[in-house]
């Protein structure tokens, strides 16, 4: 893998730090009028998800990380792995529970997810920003109630639990923002 000089640092660049692939979130150059220049960098560790700060001496080189992002459609879960497919090449990729993590509860068959691969292995699965899921369980709400009274919990077909307005019923399909885990709207079937 290529090395990157601090001069090439920018948001999104993938580098190795502490033995883990990382993505640069923010890069700020600190150049005193006299003396050594530094890069103060915020990086997100791609496996643990932690965001940490690092200070590099400007001009130094850092090892790049062999990280690619792929847009793949979710196929199925065989009990151990979650299988995804490239809709153009039909090539398949299997991700384990560690890579899938929290995304598990948002995986809908045929939805296109973003998979991060490090040295060919999936390390992260990012679901689409919005998914549509059926409600399998929720308290029957009061008739005639409108949105905005705090709502009630509802369990979705994947097991995810979100707060929904009181008028939403079992069997209905709703749109959810996976980034916040919040209800967006009902979906007409």
């Amino acid at each position: 893998m290529a090395n990157y000089s601090t001069n090439e640092f920018k948001g999104g660049l993938k580098i190795m730090q502490d033995g883990e692939p990382c993505s640069i979130v923010e890069n700020e150059m600190v150049k005193p009028g006299k003396g050594q220049a530094f890069n103060r960098v915020k990086i997100r560790k791609l496996i643990s998800g932690k965001v940490v700060e690092k200070t590099f001496k400007s001009g130094e080189s850092v090892e790049g990380a062999d990280v690619i992002e792929l847009e793949l459609a979710y196929l199925y879960n065989d009990g151990e792995f979650w299988h995804f497919m490239n809709n153009e090449t039909f090539e398949q990729v299997a991700a384990d529970a560690k890579a899938v993590g929290e995304a598990e509860k948002w995986l809908v068959e045929q939805d296109v997810c973003t998979l991060t691969l490090w040295e060919g292995n999936p390390i992260n699965v990012q679901p689409p920003n919005f998914v549509e899921l059926e409600i399998t369980e929720t308290d029957p709400g009061l008739k005639g109630d409108t949105a905005g009274t705090g709502g009630k919990p509802a369990t979705l077909s994947t097991g995810a639990v979100v707060r929904v307005p009181l008028f939403v019923q079992i069997g209905e399909v709703i749109k959810v923002d996976t980034r916040s885990g919040e209800y967006v709207s009902r979906v007409q079937k």
């Binding site: 150049k31 005193p32 003396g35 050594q36």
Partner: protein, 319 residues
Amino acid sequence: MSDWRSKATLNVLKKRAELLRQLRSFFFERDVLEVDTPLLCQHGVTDRHIENLSTRDSQHNLRYLQTSPEYAMKRLLAQYGHSLYQLSHVVRDDPVGRHHNPEFMMLEWYRVGFDDDQLIAEIGELLMTVADAPPLVKLTYQDAFLQHMQCDPLTPAGIKAIHQRLKDDERTKDWMASESDVDTILQVAFNLYVEPQLSLSQPTAITHFPASQAALAQIDSKNPSVARRFEIYWEGIELANGYYELSDSVEQSLRFNKDIAARERAQLPYRAADCFLIAALEHGLPPCAGVAMGFDRLLMIKTKETSIERVIPFSYTSA
């Protein structure tokens, strides 16, 4: 190429023009003469942390775009002994940043007969006059470390403790273990632990930098471990750097040679020492103090803008 418009508002450009006017009147009232020395010169800068951009004329003569008007202004000081100021664009081969544009406006001035204390007082008056600053506070480099890190940056034991703190810090541990340059260690520590603790609302002069970071300042005759160099910080921005100016031509030649050797060790391109400056110092520089202030940064503080590209007509990437 569609984004041809300036990122600076008309209001900011008016403030920019007003600040130029205010500075000129400040110096006019004090009989400090405005000069405009050349941007293209035959010598560059030997400092290993500053890189010139250069160009060649049609006769293939090499010319360096100046990173500061310092050398030329000192030649005028040696010849005429008159206090001088200059408002000019300078160019440094630096990456673009929130506080950095490779081409920027420098306000540089020299006061004949002043020492560093007197010049710092005048900087305080200038900031009050043109930017409504509260009174400036002074803090020595040593006290700044003692207050904010409980370590003495001028003793081997203190430097060792500072180095240890950086070796233990998640942000720097990877490369600090093998770092041996004391000035680099102190500069990182200053940036990470001291600078964020400095007052935002009040301009602060950090004085008496370690002798190893003297640049073009005189070594303090009462305490040879420090130099009479200072920096001004305000609103989290490094605003100015000044000296009680070194006038000893032999000492200046030695420092140039040290710089040149350091450039070679760091495998940086060779820069010849400016022989005109050495000759001028041999003739004699009157006792004086001088300071270089980032004009655009001062305007950022005045207009409360957080990015330099918002206070200049066109930044490096849109010029």
